[in-house]
């Protein structure tokens, strides 16, 4: 008999799947929205209970998904980290839906809005499954679900730009899935297992025996490249700005905040549970991650500086922020892993806040999206302006906000390497350069949106027609709670970082 809370894992996965399936019957958009939001709230509570219990006990548990125990059946597994991530993702998805509600009504035809919520429900289910899975193939199945759902929520807006973005996204994602599947297939035929602990046992055996070194490197490379394409690591990031920049507000927020991270979590599992960090270091995979992460941090920021389209600017900033995660992983130490996990949380909260408040500003400007057109809009809609400012300052790394803690934990993790190696120096330099560039474009954008409107006179196109926006309570709620989460993550980071560092051993 399991403890009561251990059942919550499969209940939350199936609850979200069932909500998605039953939403098909609701033709009414409002009802399906309510169903989805209630489901998200329930799932957040369930996963929160799992988190509290596992972190108090300081241990993980496994749960057989079927009549027969693993390795014959499927299995899920949760420790504090997995359940914490699932809870935060749930909240972020909910807040993004709340914050972008009005844009959803405008962008998606009323007859199709319930389909959007179906996608959202299944996306949530796949997020949970990717957080909790202990089996490589279950991971692959839910990668597929996540890919289709993510492409559909980009497509939902249904104009030329989003369809092109979806095509590019779909092709890149399929390449990613395919490469990942090759990796899993090779791994299965040399290890004979799909369950992560069993693969680990035979991988360790092979490492000590020194056999299959080449296929092992290929497996590590393929799994890594597959997941890197999907999570938009630097040379594979090309689909991200078009997809995130053109989708509707909620979709952009969820794609940046949650979908990218789902794949990273699977990668972390592969690094910690299929291989060990020591083996990853032997295969030199972590160096590749590290170098690409550094490139992403700088390249993403440089492109964001040059970008004039507000949402694409934020999307390029996502490329840079994904780089931070990969640098943390590339350090291949407990501290680096904890920094990467913290960055996953911090970026989920911050980027969704930035996207929905930009969505609010864009609405006020009458759906014009260049930074130039957003000038002065924060004064018209102060809440959106405050949200943008908090998010931007967090990205820049102002103390007391979440982004600062990322940078400092990552820096500390690099310093922990001890002797000044090239990793340490390049990591610290990249953090410095990237922060500077972040400050450049984010502070510039923040100043732009707060500018007073008298300066609009020189505008050659004439002043931007400002649209009166009736108060939107759900938007306000979402912005305020994401701001609060951001501040809480920034101010009370000490215990959280310590918890993450302790729990990395449980991964």
């Amino acid at each position: 008999m399991h403890l009561y809370y251990e059942n919550f894992l499969f209940i939350s996965i199936f609850l979200s799947l069932l909500c998605g399936i039953l939403t098909t019957l609701l033709e009414d958009g409002r009802k399906s929205r309510r169903v989805t939001l209630v489901m998200l709230a329930v799932c957040a509570v369930l996963n929160g209970i799992v988190f509290v219990n596992t972190s108090i006990r300081g241990e993980y548990f496994t749960y057989a998904m079927g009549q027969f125990p693993a390795p014959w059946g499927n299995e899920v597994r949760s420790g504090p980290i997995e359940s914490l991530l699932a809870t935060v993702f749930c909240i972020v998805i909910g807040m993004s839906l709340l914050g972008g509600g009005r844009d959803l009504e405008e962008d998606i035809l009323p007859g199709k809005i319930n389909l959007y919520y179906i996608m959202m429900d299944l996306l949530t289910a796949s997020t949970f499954a990717l957080c909790y899975t202990n089996d490589m193939f279950t991971g692959y199945v839910f990668i597929e679900i996540m890919t289709i759902a993510a492409c559909s929520i980009v497509m939902a807006k249904d104009n030329g730009q989003t369809i092109v973005a979806t095509i590019i996204y779909l092709i890149m994602s399929m390449v990613g899935s395919g490469v990942f599947l090759f990796g899993v297939a090779i791994l299965y035929s040399i290890s004979g297992h799909l369950l992560m602990p069993n693969i680990m046992a035979s991988v360790t055996k092979m490492f000590t025996a020194g056999s299959f070194h080449y296929p092992m490197a290929v497996v590590a490379g393929m799994v890594l490249v597959g997941l890197a394409i999907k999570s938009a690591l630097f040379p594979f990031h090309t689909w991200l700005p078009t997809a995130h920049g053109s989708a509707t507000t909620s979709s952009s927020a969820i794609l940046s905040g949650v979908v990218l991270k789902g794949y990273v979590i699977l990668l972390i599992k592969v690094m910690c549970r299929v291989f060990t960090m020591e083996q990853i270091r032997q295969l030199n995979v972590n160096d590749i991650l590290f170098v690409l992460g550094i490139c992403a941090m700088i390249y993403g920021s440089v492109r964001a500086v040059r970008e004039n389209h507000s949402k694409k600017m934020i999307a390029f900033s996502s490329v840079a922020q994904v780089g931070y995660i990969y640098v943390g992983l590339g350090l291949c130490s407990t501290a680096g892993m904890a920094a990467a996990l913290y960055q996953i949380l911090a970026h989920a909260v911050t980027k969704s806040l930035l996207f929905i408040s930009t969505g609010g500003l864009i609405q006020t400007a009458g759906h014009r999206k260049s930074l130039h057109d957003l000038r002065g809009m924060a004064r018209r809609r102060p809440l959106a302006g405050i949200g943008f400012t908090v998010g931007a300052l967090s990205m820049v790394g102002l103390p007391l906000l979440a982004g600062f803690i990322t940078k400092i934990t990552l820096g500390q993790a690099a310093l922990e390497l001890g002797i000044p190696r090239w990793e340490m120096i390049s990591c610290l330099t990249a953090i410095a350069i990237s922060s500077l560039l972040n400050a450049w474009y984010f502070i510039q954008a923040t100043i732009q949106i707060w500018k007073s409107e008298e300066e609009d006179v020189q505008d050659e196109n004439g002043p931007v027609a400002v649209h009166a926006i009736s108060p939107d309570r759900s938007f306000g709620f979402a912005v305020v709670s994401l701001c609060v989460m951001n501040v809480v993550l920034g101010c009370f980071a000490e215990p959280l970082v310590r918890l993450l560092q302790h729990s990395v051993a449980l991964l």
Binding site: P71, L109, D158, H372
Partner: protein
């Protein structure tokens, strides 16, 4: 940033309206102030064009190189792989052993593959059925008729072609369908219900039934099919099948993981009513697959059920 030309062409092709490439819409997002200024001078835009051509050539060549490198790496990997179907192969481990030696006694189906995909790894297969459901939903989202992708002209053309089809039926097709339809449906149902005894099961049987329905639609016209398989029936069957499937899987997971007793009888292996949940799951999967097949076809053809 100005989008490259191929991108805008693709976008234009997808959008389907004749938007002039030279004159973007007033609030076209991709065209910003600065690039509009650049466009006024001919020089920089020419430079830009030649540069983007160079970039696209380079990226095309590097894509080909990447594919070849991948090919070589994969071929090389194959050389290092262990030999299959030998005693010493790692996949011949305790997992496979239990599937083969105890599968029939533990689960009850003589078709061992059905045991594995529907019971041992039932959660994965449920995920795959959700992929089908999701695929159908995505197709509906993209292709269902609405004011963005259908004009009055399209509707009139569709009506005309339907009318013509009804007036001049394709006699060969109708006659062949008359003969094939019952056979296909019967065979499909047989594969569904016999999935735990012989190769086949929900996915194979469901696609046969879906194919039969597509044939029927072609021979007799959509209105005939609508009399028994319209929008409501489609949703009812699809949702009913998936919810029923989910309920069975949830029950097995809960019962199995908490060590409670499973009330589904295993029966005698080899008889039709055996193997616990496999038979109902196969039927549910079959209905789901048939619905999805038919929905794919009909949404691609006319954008509605």
């Amino acid at each position: 940033m100005k989008a490259p030309k191929w991108y805008r062409k693709l976008e234009q092709w997808v959008e389907g309206d004749a938007r002039d490439l030279k004159e973007p819409k007033a609030h076209d997002e991709s065209i910003t102030e600065s690039t509009r200024k650049i466009e006024n001078h001919n020089g920089p835009s020419l430079i830009r064009a030649s540069r983007s051509e160079l970039i696209s050539a380079v990226s095309r060549i590097s894509a080909v190189i990447c594919c070849f490198v991948l090919l070589v790496v994969m071929m090389f990997t194959v050389a290092f792989m262990p030999t299959t179907s030998t005693e010493s192969n790692v996949t011949m481990n305790e997992t496979a052993k239990r599937y083969i030696e105890q599968g029939m006694d533990e689960v009850g189906a003589t078709n061992l593959v059905a045991n594995i995909i529907l019971v041992y790894r039932g959660f994965d297969t449920y995920g795959e059925s959700c992929v089908l459901f999701l695929g159908a939903t995505a197709v509906i989202m993209l292709l269902a008729n609405d004011r963005k992708n259908e004009t009055e002209k399209d509707r009139a053309a569709q009506r005309l072609s339907d009318k013509l089809d009804a007036k001049i039926p394709n006699q060969v097709l109708v006659d062949v369908t008359k003969v094939l339809m019952p056979v296909l449906l019967l065979y499909g149902a047989y594969i569904l219900c016999n999935g735990h005894l012989s190769p086949g099961g929900g996915f194979a049987g469901g696609s046969l039934i879906g194919g039969a329905m597509i044939l029927c639609e072609n021979a007799y016209g959509v209105n005939k099919v609508r009399t028994f398989f319209g929008h409501t029936v489609y949703h009812a069957v699809k949702v009913g099948a998936l919810v029923f499937y989910a309920a069975l899987i949830m029950y097995t997971i809960f019962v199995g993981s908490n060590g409670l007793e499973n009330i589904f009888p295993k029966g005698t292996p080899g008889s039709l009513l055996s193997a616990g949940i496999i038979l109902p799951i196969n039927i549910a999967v079959g209905l789901e697959v048939a619905c999805t097949m038919y929905a794919f076809y009909t949404y691609f053809v006319r954008g509605e059920l």
